[in-house]
């Protein structure tokens, strides 16, 4: 299990605050601006990066992340390119945990063994592969864990019944609680629901648990930071990039600044008073 992930959560806990994780798609809107965006995020309080591996058919994602994936693919982003972005990020940020998030097909085509080797060499800490449930562990999870990558599991409202132990069995790094039954960037969950879910999750595992899907505002982030060990914001961040791309000519510097400002607002709000 990755030291960077556990240390990140341990430090946050010692400071009595929750971890802020930010999702962006690799190569959105371009490989170069990705690097600048990641630096700006870390600069402005992101504790952990979830780097999306673009896929043409992201089954569990809403319109914002679908569009981000397609923008990146259109600009030529590949899995190899994503690993390059990860590698240069790692060189600049030796301590910030970096998790790759995406779908299985591009990895399957890249080759499982080559992917595990190259991800480790790039300094990746963990993987979230949306379409690999525990039932398909022999595809990637087992080998990735053996090699030292954390295989991060999504726990959803539909998991909370008798499936929870199945999902937790080989879980590594942290638990990603998907607060809504639904796709990314659509609805938001009620605080009470999240509270109840966390009571259940904490009974079953000592791994830290973060909440994601549907968190858009600093207020929501602050509220959830009281319940959860971490908060992940994705679609809302990606929408800022989308807006910048919709303008007549893309002003990368301005984009990077707005990403930073939004990230800062989240991290400030999450400081527990």
């Amino acid at each position: 299990m990755s030291n960077r992930i556990s240390q990140c959560f341990a430090h946050a806990k010692a400071d009595n605050r929750a971890v802020l994780g930010i999702f962006v798609s690799a190569g959105d809107p371009s490989a170069e601006s990705s690097a600048a965006i990641l630096d700006e995020l870390v600069e402005n309080g992101a504790d952990m990066i979830e780097l999306g591996m673009p896929f043409s058919d992201p089954m569990a994602d809403g319109p914002a992340i679908q569009a981000a994936s397609l923008r990146a693919i259109k600009k030529g982003m590949t899995l190899a390119g994503t690993l390059d972005i990860a590698k240069s990020f790692r060189a600049r940020h030796p301590d910030t945990p970096l998790v790759l998030m995406g779908y299985y097909n591009p990895i399957y085509i890249y080759g499982k063994d080559a992917f595990i080797t190259d991800a480790l060499a790039a300094g990746v800490d963990g993987l979230i592969i949306v379409d690999l449930p525990p039932e398909e562990d022999s595809e990637l999870c087992d080998d990735a864990r053996m090699a030292g990558l954390s295989f991060i599991r999504l726990v959803t409202p539909t998991t909370l019944g008798h499936r929870l132990p199945v999902v937790l069995e080989k879980a590594g790094g942290f638990i990603y609680y998907v607060a809504i039954a639904g796709i990314t960037g659509t609805k938001s969950a009620a605080k009470e629901t999240i509270n109840a879910a966390f009571t259940r999750i904490r009974e079953e595992t000592s791994l830290p648990a973060v909440t994601g899907f549907g968190i858009r505002t600093a207020e929501q982030a602050a509220e959830i930071a009281h319940i959860s060990d971490g908060v992940v914001v994705g679609s809302a961040m990606v929408s800022i990039i989308e807006q910048a791309c919709a303008e007549e000519s893309l002003d990368t510097e301005k984009l990077v600044n707005s990403v930073g400002t939004y990230c800062r607002s989240l991290s400030e709000a999450m400081k527990r008073s």
């Binding site: 896929f55 043409s56 569990a60 679908q66 379409d131 039932e135 409202p157 998991t159 639904g182």
Partner: protein
């Protein structure tokens, strides 16, 4: 299935839903409990004699089964080779084979206590069949259809609306069948408690490929009886078109262990395989993972899914059911292809020679028949699945035939 021998081709999928390396359950965690629930319900239901009786009742009195097995004299004469029989599933209520599967799944959904149904559709035939069953059983119906297909299959969109379904035009991705399936899955992820997803072909996560195959196998089972009646023996070959592969699997499956029967699946070659604009995933694709299963997919060398192209909306899908992928790997079934142009020719020819207006999908099967039958002796017997009628295609096809001076 009861009739499986040790060296049978009919023992799969295994418990993990695999057909060789293909199949499986590659879905998001939110869906996993749902597909496990469907699997459990299907296992109990299929061995329930009450369910079988109910299904048989609707097959007979509502769909109009058994569909005839018809000797096509003028096409046979025209091709000047083997005898051609057509399995007339285009005569089914709603005009295609899709209703065979939909009735089975709708009855299952009802038994599971679900009141709302989701479906994806390409040509609109599966959407119409689903809307029909939902009207019959008083279920809510939401159909996802690529915006491009909404345009080219307008009559079916109108039928669905009349039947009470809500049609969602899908504009994400490339606005065709694969995106409709993405959107249907997304909708299911967001409404897991109330909804049942009726997948329209032998694809998707386990248990769908198996379940849809079982419901469509009525085609092959009837055919086997009927050809024995008509000719006193098994056919020499079977031909069916392949989008996801459900009409083909329905015809093929009961014959898989009859080694003397050669089997041909016809994929859509679009503008020609060499142009890259086609929907032939076995001929021009590589194994990969999409929509919950591993199978052959049209994709880039980086693993991004490519657009399929076919004149037929029902074949315009970049994947194929996992059981076909396996039958291809082991060589039991031969997979060939036919172009848009060849299908158009057959659309016209079959209408003129047999008075049967075929859908564009089985027109692809006819295109292969037109090349294959002349190579066979006159005493050989070939059966082709006439899986749908062409009314839905007239708007798209007539201008093309006029441009070719065929009308």
């Amino acid at each position: 299935m009861g009739d499986t021998a040790p060296n049978s081709y009919k023992t799969l999928p295994d418990e993990a839903g695999r057909f060789g390396i293909h199949g499986g359950r590659f879905v998001a965690e939110t869906l996993m409990p749902l597909i496990l629930e469907v699997e459990k319900a299907y296992i109990t239901t299929k061995s329930d004699p009450g369910f079988e009786t109910e299904l048989l009742y609707y097959q007979k009195h509502y769909i109009g089964r058994p569909s005839p097995l018809y000797f096509a004299p003028r096409l046979t004469k025209h091709f000047d080779g083997a005898k051609l029989y057509l399995k007339r599933d285009e005569l089914n209520h709603t005009g295609a084979h899709k209703i065979n599967n939909v009735l089975g799944q709708a009855l299952l959904a009802k038994r599971m206590g679900k009141t709302k149904i989701i479906a994806e559709t390409g040509a609109g035939q599966h959407g119409v069949a689903t809307a029909t069953a939902c009207a019959l059983f008083n279920l809510d119906c939401e159909v996802f259809m690529g915006a491009e297909d909404v345009r080219r299959q307008k009559p079916n969109v109108d039928r669905m609306r009349l039947l009470g379904a809500k049609v969602h035009p899908v504009t994400s991705g490339t606005s065709t069948l694969k995106d409709a399936m993405n959107e249907a899955l997304r909708y299911w992820v967001a409404n897991p408690e109330t909804h049942f997803y009726i997948i329209g072909t032998v694809a998707g996560p386990h248990p769908y490929p198996e379940m849809v195959r079982d419901f469509q196998s009525v085609i092959g089972k009837e055919t086997k009886e009927q050809i024995k009646q008509a000719e006193g023996r098994l056919p020499d070959a079977l031909i069916a078109c392949i989008g996801g592969g459900s009409n083909a699997m329905g015809l093929f499956h009961p014959f898989l262990d009859d080694e003397s029967v050669a089997i041909y699946g016809v994929e859509a070659a679009g503008h020609g395989i060499e142009t890259g604009e086609h929907a032939a995933s076995l001929t021009g694709g590589e194994p990969g993972i999409l929509h919950g299963n591993r199978t052959y997919l049209l994709q880039t060398k980086e693993g991004q899914i490519k657009d399929a192209h076919s004149i037929s909306a029902g074949l315009d899908y970049p994947g194929i059911g996992p059981e076909h992928a396996w039958l291809h790997d082991i060589g039991r079934v031969n997979y060939v292809s036919a172009t848009d142009e060849e299908a158009l020719d057959m659309f016209h020819l079959c209408s003129r020679l047999e008075g049967i207006i075929p859908a564009l999908e089985p027109s692809h099967a006819l295109a292969f028949a037109s090349k294959f039958l002349p190579s066979l002796d006159k005493d050989k017997i070939v059966i082709l699945n006439m899986c749908g009628r062409g009314d839905k295609d007239l708007e798209a096809v007539l201008p093309l035939l006029e441009a070719r001076s065929k009308l």
